[in-house]
């Protein structure tokens, strides 16, 4: 029982980290960035390459990969979203162009890395475990949960206490007014993409480490679960995404333990539906849903 709680928190921390980036971009742009999962996947490969080919230790490779993810996010914005800003149907067309970019990135990964599942070399992270009662938690799992929580804290601090954060919130509230007030909207949006994709990239590296597998299609299921998380948490709400991420992780694990593993994925979508039909704004979303 305790072990399952550990499993759930662990899985949930990765969902939360992934969803944070997702919901940040939605909060700012009212757009779902479906290329997020491709960045998630590519960062895992970047970290893998740094570790395997440049022999960098993980504590150095990880931040490098995360920064790479942020930069990749800026590229995504430049290629897929910025050219469409101003178009009347920019939400739907933005969605579609992000799908297109995700497909391109996945194809590139397939071509250059091959379709096989890779894993990080053994011994790259310490192998120790702790016993808490009848549960086993590995050092790696603790670190991952810790990173997820601290990234959430950092993000919240950035949004509340820094100038950048203020500007991001201004653009999220009303881009036109922000521009009038002298905010460089394009640059703020690019920064949001940087932060969002850095988070997504971090989630990717941690996922690859956690489950010993890196493959070009690793983003696909997480992407769909991520949707459930941001809907449950409330679109645009960081704390919501974090809470919902952990909640979904726990829910999935307990579904497997009590009901049966075949329904594991159904839980995410069941929750998605329920929330959309009963309370579309989710747990902590804004009271009035803007025209999406």
């Amino acid at each position: 029982m305790g072990q399952q709680i550990v499993n759930g928190l662990f899985l949930g921390s990765i969902y939360a980290l992934f969803a944070l980036g997702y919901t940040l971009v939605f909060g700012v742009l009212d757009i779902l960035n479906l290329a997020h999962q491709a960045v998630f996947m590519l960062c895992a490969y970047v970290a893998l390459a740094l570790v395997v080919h440049l022999h960098l230790p993980m504590p150095i490779a990880f931040p490098l990969a995360v920064v790479a993810g942020g930069l990749l996010g800026v590229v995504v914005d430049r290629l897929a979203f910025r050219p469409l800003r101003g178009r009347s149907d920019s939400n739907i067309s933005g969605l579609i162009s992000s799908i297109a970019l995700a497909t391109i990135l996945e194809a590139l990964a397939l071509q250059f890395f091959g379709p096989d599942v890779e894993r990080f070399p053994f011994g790259i992270v310490p192998d120790r475990s702790l016993r808490l009662g009848d549960a086993v938690i590995s050092e790696l799992q603790l670190v991952i949960i810790g990173i997820a929580v601290s990234m959430l804290a950092v993000l919240t601090w950035v949004l509340r206490r820094t100038t950048l954060g203020r500007r991001i919130r201004a653009v999220a509230e009303n881009p036109v007014a922000a521009r009038v007030l002298g905010v460089n909207v394009d640059r703020v949006i690019a920064s949001s993409f940087f932060v969002s994709s850095a988070l997504g990239g971090a989630a990717g590296v941690l996922f690859g480490l956690a489950f010993n597998s890196v493959s070009p299609d690793m983003g696909r299921t997480v992407e769909l679960k991520g949707l459930a998380v941001i809907i449950l948490g409330g679109m645009g709400s960081m704390p919501g995404a974090a809470i919902a991420g952990f909640a979904l992780g726990l829910l999935e694990v307990f579904t497997v333990a009590k009901i049966g593993s075949s329904y594991r994925d159904a839980v995410a979508f069941g929750v998605l539906f329920l929330v959309l039909v009963v309370r579309p704004r989710g747990l902590l979303g804004p009271a009035a849903l803007r025209e999406a």
């Binding site: 009212d30 469409l84 739907i92 071509q111 994925d265 539906f273």
Partner: protein, 300 residues
């Protein structure tokens, strides 16, 4: 080209021709909701329902093929009603997400249904679909959409697409129209599913994933969603492209899998950025570009 090599060419590519027809029908099913401004991505789920319903009928009863097809069309159409009512209240992206969720729920439902062998699906379905059936269905769908286009309903749909709140104030029952389009799209997808099941011998949940509906969306968008035949053009183009690419790719030493994916993505990106009204708008664009050049030359 002599007769024999023509025949061989035909046999080799007959499945491609069939897939063009099926993909065209699927693209139209996504288009029906796009035409009134809603992005509904539930079509993979509807297709699955149509495939399974028709396959079950064929395998367990001796129903004639047209009846089987009818069942495949009606089952998803009926399911679309209780799905559509709550979900059409949602705006834009939320509708898209909800419908993606629906598609996944259907897929997982079938993965867990022992009656249909769960994930393994139904196999050895007799091949009752021929090219005639596929293209008749496609023609039928195109006909329906063509009739809607020029009618009062068609204008209402366009008004909804342009500006829904304004349309409502003008007295258009937006909800009823949107629901009808969802139901129509579900019927198209179900029909395509039924035809597909009886062409490919198998029905398995893996065929009805999120990736499938993304493909359908890509066909529709690349072809063009401002005219009713646009999606079919897109489907034909994107179904033929991998076949052409296979030849090119193997000569250049690229893997066929990634190459097809890459080109699909690239074509979609280029279209959405530079040719938002799809391939069908290309002739007009080119003509206009030529005219401006001619005018500039004259002015000079």
């Amino acid at each position: 080209m002599n007769g024999e090599s023509l025949r061989d060419l035909w046999l080799t590519y007959q499945s491609t021709v069939a897939f063009i027809g099926l993909n065209g029908l699927l693209a139209l099913s996504v288009y029906t909701t796009l035409s009134c401004g809603q992005l509904s991505l539930a079509q993979a789920g509807f297709m699955a329902l149509g495939s399974y319903a028709s396959a079950i009928l064929t395998l367990h009863t001796s129903a004639p093929f047209p009846v089987v097809l009818l069942a495949g069309t009606l089952v998803p159409a009926v399911v679309a009603i209780p799905l559509g009512l709550p979900v059409l209240r949602l705006k834009g992206v939320f509708l898209a997400i909800a419908t993606i969720g629906f598609g996944e729920v259907v897929r997982i439902f079938f993965v867990n249904l022992d009656f249909t062998n769960g994930a393994l699906g139904l196999v050895a379905i007799p091949q009752r679909t021929g090219l005639v059936a596929i293209y008749l269905a496609l023609a039928g769908a195109l006909f329906i959409l063509w009739r809607i286009r020029g009618s009062r309903a068609g204008y209402a749909l366009e008004a909804i697409r342009e500006d829904e709140p304004a349309a409502r104030t003008m007295g258009i029952h937006a909800s009823a129209y949107k629901l009808s389009m969802v139901v129509l799209g579900a019927g198209f997808a179900g029909l395509a599913g039924a035809l597909d099941a009886h062409f490919n011998f198998i029905v398995a949940p893996a065929n009805y994933s999120f990736g499938r509906v993304v493909d359908m969306l890509v066909y529709a968008v690349v072809g063009g969603t401002t005219v009713f035949y646009g999606p079919v053009v897109g489907a034909a183009f994107l179904t033929l492209l991998p076949e052409v690419l296979r030849e090119v790719g193997s000569r250049v030493g690229l893997q066929p899998g990634p190459l097809r994916l890459f080109v699909n993505g690239l074509v979609l990106l280029l279209v959405i950025l530079f040719l938002p009204n799809g391939i069908v708008s290309l002739p007009r664009r080119v003509r206009r570009w030529l005219e401006t050049r001619r005018a500039a030359a004259h002015a000079a």
